[in-house]
Assembly symmetry: C2
């Protein structure tokens, strides 16, 4: 059930290949929506009064893009949301996602000082995903970003992989998210999610768009979802 | 609360303009997902056992595109679904949407004979939307399509506007869907939805992505949604 980094890359390549024909934009919209629904479900269970501010920490790649989409949907779900995005948009798609968020008056910040992270905030960690390679360490400004989140002691909901974690071996690197409370795996849990579950974290899977024939071709489990839910909680 | 055809066109133009920066692909994905959730909700209430086959009747424009997306999500929601699409894809986006559906082994048919519509089926009517102009009558093959649906006496769930209805004045044309049981309005109900409600039909609104500032700018109501639902039933 838990997949390697290589298999996660194969899933994405197949989804966007000729046979399944998804675009990155479409997958990011559906993934980000799932992340927002999972985060909303978790937050509503933990904070029955006074829902916190959600700080969406976005990295430079597609995990960050999922975060930009999730921030917009979280706003529509009724949460006070801001985006922390040091890298800035690097393609037309990311520019559009930022414009969509700004049009909802979601604040977009570049530095830790601008974000002013507090212990009462919830952080949605969309810094690094399954293509993170920890061998070279975490480069700036993402190292500072992870350290600021750890220093704040704010609870963290992670998108696909807790940032800085080894995708397969888990929390083995020096610079990594320490206060992960919930994880939203996209399409299928990565191997590091086992370690996450062993620590008692809440674990959701999102991706009610993965064709069963693709699960079969790459030998990973079809996720079951209830009624019209786009996420399912598995731990 | 109920809007004109002109205002519906303005909403779409603004959503895809520089300020809000949505792409057609993104809006179609979110709209189609809403349609699938509303159809699933309605069908589950009406058919407690033996869920029917859902025949998704798609027209040549964007209403048809919403149908192609909805067919895919309905499949993921557990419904036996097929697509009736006489026109065939007319752009790369529509070709991709069809490929995505076919990869789920959703049948795609061109003619009424291939579809073999039965009274026990449910039809999702995505033939014409808010840009339909009834003045010139309904051209072929869509006229035949509407007549076949009426002849089958199958219950119909309509996307945005019952096909053949005048967007504002309702069921005033000779060739039009007669057996509409449910309506899924996208972003905001069109004026014809009043007539639909007066006949006792179930009425859903989908579009939990419309920026409140856009509602304000064009003077139409912000729709309220519960928890993580992407649709709301208003009648």
């Amino acid at each position: 059930m838990y997949i390697s980094a290589q298999k996660a890359a194969q899933i994405d390549a197949l989804l966007m290949g000729d046979h399944y024909a998804f675009s990155l934009e479409q997958l990011m919209e559906l993934a980000g929506l799932s992340v927002a629904h999972a985060a909303a479900d978790y937050i509503r269970q933990q904070w029955q009064h006074a829902p916190p501010r959600v700080v969406v920490a976005c990295g430079p790649g597609n995990n960050g893009g999922d975060g930009l989409v999730a921030a917009r949907h979280l706003h529509h779900l009724g949460f006070h949301t801001c985006i922390w995005y040091p890298s800035g948009a690097r393609s037309a798609l990311f520019t559009a996602l930022l414009t969509q968020a700004r049009a909802l008056r979601i604040g977009v910040h570049h530095t830790a000082e601008q974000v002013a992270l507090r212990r009462c905030d919830v952080v949605l960690d969309a810094i690094f995903g399954f293509s993170f390679d920890g061998a070279a360490g975490v480069r700036q400004p993402y190292r500072r970003m992870i350290e600021s989140i750890n220093d704040s002691a704010a609870p963290v909901i992670c998108v696909d992989v807790p940032s800085g974690w080894h995708v397969e071996r888990g929390d083995v690197h020096e610079v990594a998210i320490r206060n992960a409370r919930a994880l939203v795996s996209l399409t299928a849990p990565k191997l590091c999610a086992r370690r996450f579950e062993q620590r008692g974290g809440a674990h959701y899977v999102g991706g009610r768009f993965v064709p069963p024939s693709l699960c079969e071709a790459l030998d990973f489990d079809v996720v079951r979802y209830e009624r019209e839910r786009v996420i399912t909680r598995i731990a």
